[in-house]
């Protein structure tokens, strides 16, 4: 009895009871689908994040640890020029929070700030925060109002869309012109909720002294660690400002790690599902063995060895698991593609996850069908035939 004979007989036996076969396979399909889906989606999300990070570079945020409103010279404005000299630094910008907030018009009550803050900025704010100034429309020559940039969420809160640019916004009790909107930051930082006023104008008209409370530095992901270690001494050689540096990549990696904990929970649930599916296969095969005592007796009389009988039932278990495993893999891939499509990232389904899914389903089948197969093999041929007669 060759493998093709075994498979043909297993398929024929399973087709004789399609409902039972489908239900057994479904148990495996759901668990393997969950397994492949969970791992596929997390790989896709992680790969998307890393791709974005490596294309945009890492954003280093420098802040002073001194929390004293009377201390004004926190991060000196002149340090921006020094920072630009550090090798591999791609963009630098500094900001300083200003008083007041931003509104769509001057008619909106002052307390409806919607969480927006007004900041003075100097340098390449879009480049340094890892965003892109998605729309920048310069004002016509002759318009004297200063130009401001809006963070992604600030633009949304103010109801300013790209089509409306340039448009007037009411910022800290004066009309300014919004000329650009920044794309959302990767780590949803405060940048998204800020309205950026050029430092030159802020110094002239908004009581800005030229020093910053936050400096953003963008560097490639592979050198951001080195750059980060150079920042405190470069910005504050005396060490009085108590400079602290945060890396956006750290926060993003931590977020991805936190997601892994959730992923472990889902994988544990999938494992429990597989266990249940295994019992389902075992139960189905046990019923089949009892129902097919006569067939076992006939086959033994025709010359089937105990091994052939065991293999017959094990093959049925393997066929059910393969149908379930393949369906599960297809389901998992489909879920991953759907998630990737929704999040606008490139889907990534590791081949080893697919192979592991199939191997696990076959492993479950091997364990689950062993007992029924041995039970069938140990049946006495004469007794099996007698039962039928």
């Amino acid at each position: 009895m060759g493998p093709s004979d075994l498979i043909a007989r297993a398929i024929s036996a399973l087709l004789a009871r399609p409902g039972r076969t489908i239900l057994s396979a479904l148990g495996v399909a759901v668990s393997i689908g969950a397994l492949v889906g969970v791992l596929g989606i997390s790989s896709t999300t992680r790969a998307g994040l890393l791709a974005q990070l490596s294309s945009l570079g890492d954003v280093l945020t420098v802040e002073s640890t001194i929390n004293d409103p009377n201390v004004r010279n926190l991060l000196p404005g002149r340090s921006l020029a020094t920072l630009r000299v550090i090798p591999t630094v791609q963009a630098v910008a500094g900001i300083r929070a200003l008083s007041g907030s931003a509104y769509r018009t001057d008619l909106i009550p002052a307390d409806q700030t919607r969480g927006l803050s007004v900041v003075a900025f100097s340098g390449d704010i879009a480049g340094a925060t890892g965003t892109r100034a998605i729309v920048v429309r310069r004002l016509d020559a002759g318009v004297a109002l200063p130009e401001v940039l809006l963070g992604a969420q600030a633009a949304e809160q103010l109801g300013v869309t790209a089509e409306l640019l340039p448009t007037r916004v009411w910022v800290s009790d004066r009309w300014l012109y919004a000329v650009g909107i920044l794309s959302p930051t990767l780590n949803h930082s405060g940048v998204d909720l800020s309205v950026f006023v050029p430092a030159a104008y802020a110094m002239k008209a908004m009581d800005f002294d030229g020093n910053f409370n936050t400096i953003y530095v963008r560097a490639p992901l592979d050198t951001s660690d080195t750059v980060s270690s150079l920042l405190p001494a470069t910005i504050d050689p005396s060490g009085t400002a108590g400079v602290r540096v945060f890396r956006a990549s750290d926060a993003l990696t931590a977020a991805a790690d936190a997601a892994t904990a959730f992923q472990s929970l889902l994988l544990a649930l999938a494992a429990v599902g597989l266990l249940v599916a295994g019992f389902g296969i075992m139960n189905t095969l046990m019923v089949a063995v009892v129902e097919r005592r006569a067939e076992i007796g006939i086959r033994r009389a025709l010359g089937a060895t105990r091994t052939s009988i065991a293999l017959l039932f094990m093959t049925e278990g393997f066929v059910v698991a393969t149908i379930g495993g393949l369906s599960g893999v297809v389901f998992g891939i489909w879920a991953t593609l759907l998630a990737a499509w929704q999040e606008h990232v490139h889907p990534l389904i590791p081949v080893e996850v697919v192979l592991a899914g199939l191997c696990i389903s076959l492993g479950v089948a091997a364990v689950a069908s062993l007992y029924p197969a041995l039970h069938a093999a140990r049946m006495s041929p004469s007794e099996a035939l007698r039962t039928m007669a």
Binding site: M1, I298, A301, R306, T307, S308, L385
Partner: protein
């Protein structure tokens, strides 16, 4: 005449609370090509004797020679090989596999003797034609009459060219005429093959070379 099956002092006991002796000290020789009837009352041990002759059951005592070789110490695998290549079975309730067509049922017997797929089909076709069922090759058991089903079973037993055919009440579920036809098909198809038929039917036993009478597990003569 060359012996094909020899039993020496074969006994069979079952443990069902107390020891039950089903066969006691049976010695007999079946020769190649011989047609033998085993007759006796219900419960006399005929079917158990057939199971032992067919290697489906091992005796509790005694020894068996098959084709000049002792099979007492053979493994289950070796006994299975003997069943696949040298024995054919015909049962009272036909025992065809319901999911398979007539020709597939016959092919199934040759699968275990490692006959190639095409050859299986050719031989099955031939065997079914020899029992007059060429027009029923692709019919399922439920589409066949009792007589036809038993003829498929005979074709299945003959297809491998066995040395011995063992039939347990092959006409038991058939009317007299159909039973006669089935026995004829079996005897005609098995020239040169030993046939052992367990039967109650005197008209069947009367057509065979020899009758073995069993009573309470003992061979009378």
């Amino acid at each position: 005449m060359t012996p094909i099956l020899e039993l020496r002092n074969v006994s069979k006991r079952f443990h069902a609370g107390t020891d039950v002796t089903v066969l006691s000290e049976i010695s007999l020789t079946i020769y190649q090509g011989e047609k033998v009837a085993v007759v006796g009352a219900s419960g006399s041990g005929k079917s158990t004797l057939l199971s032992i002759l067919g290697t489906l059951e091992r005796p509790s005592a005694g020894s068996i020679m098959f084709d000049g070789q002792s099979i007492d110490e053979l493994s289950d695998r070796a006994l299975s090989r003997i069943r696949a290549r040298k024995l054919g079975f015909v049962f009272q309730s036909f025992n065809l596999l319901a999911r398979l067509t007539a020709i597939e049922n016959v092919c199934e017997a040759m699968m275990y003797s490692r006959v190639g797929r095409q050859e299986r089909r050719d031989r099955a076709h031939q065997a079914l034609a020899s029992v007059g069922l060429e027009h029923r090759l692709d019919h399922y058991p439920h589409q066949l009459s009792g007589g036809e089903q038993q003829r498929v079973a005979i074709a299945r037993a003959l297809a491998n060219g066995p040395a011995v055919i063992l039939a347990d009440e092959p006409t038991g579920n058939l009317d007299h005429l159909t039973g006669e036809a089935v026995v004829t098909a079996m005897l005609e198809g098995s020239r040169g093959t030993a046939v052992i038929i367990v039967t109650h039917d005197l008209s069947v036993s009367g057509r065979l070379d020899r009758q073995l009478h069993i009573e309470s597990g003992r061979l009378l003569g």
